[in-house]
Symmetry: C2
Subunit: 130 residues, 2 copies
DNA sequence: CAAATACTAAACCAATACGTTTAGTATATG
DNA sequence: CATATACTAAACGTATTGGTTTAGTATTTG
């Protein structure tokens, strides 16, 4: 079993992290998210199969795949003349980890926000005024 | 209490979503993640306060703040001459939701991946060959 | 009122992102 | 062998990003 350091994403919160940069950037494009969604539920697929639902060129999809590969979100495995793309979830796991690591903080903020949204004219959420 | 549709992020997985685009894009920059981290644990802060730890211009930080504001990650509230920046967690919540919605799928893939990584020369994860 | 403070607007620049087309490589098939 | 298939490389155009500087607007403060 692959030993994922259980709190890898939690230890260096706030530190520069090029992998996380690339992962979030990769997730920022709807076509790439759609491709990841398809891979998540449909197992592996060739680049052409991934391209089929979209009305952009195959080359464009090939580049999207390359972006996700560099972000560690998927891996290509050459099988004859086709490239089989497989989800590689660790990067996604780390991205989720970053958000998770902040969740308890911004959930507190969510409460404060709800009060503020309920009555914007009122005193904004009672925080320490510095 | 603000009624967040409990599964807003889960219903339209795979659909184009400009907010999600902007949210993930905003999270892709280390300075912006650091700012969000600071806001998450330190409550609200002015733009100047947010800028202080970084050695880029105040203007650069002002733009980063604008990016996060457009992504719905934070809100600015004018208080005299200062702009108080407050975390606005719903966008982050939606980003987490997208990942969560896929988690059960790619966790299955994680198992397959671990076998593959353990012995890359072996037959790749036993999936349906199409 | 004058000067300092906290920003933002505008113009600019270099680098990257996203798409195209055209051409090329490698593999499979008739 | 010839052709089709599955991709990738290279070059290109345009838009966006991330940073700068310079100048401006509000708002405090001396």
């Amino acid at each position: 079993m692959v030993a994922l350091p259980p709190d890898a994403a939690l230890t260096d919160v706030g530190t520069a992290d090029a992998v996380l940069d690339r992962t979030f950037a990769a997730l920022a494009h709807p076509v790439r998210r759609a491709i990841l969604g398809r891979l998540a539920r449909g197992d592996s697929a060739s680049v052409s199969e991934l391209a089929e639902p979209f009305d952009v060129s195959l080359m464009a999809i090939s580049k999207h795949v390359a972006v996700m590969e560099e972000a560690g979100l998927l891996a290509k495995q050459k099988d004859g003349r086709i490239q089989r793309c497989t989800l590689q979830p660790e990067s996604l796991h780390r991205a989720a980890g970053w958000i998770e690591a902040h969740r308890r903080y911004w959930e507190a903020q969510l409460d404060a926000l709800s009060h503020f949204l309920a009555d914007p004219a009122s005193t904004p959420p009672p925080e320490d005024s510095r």
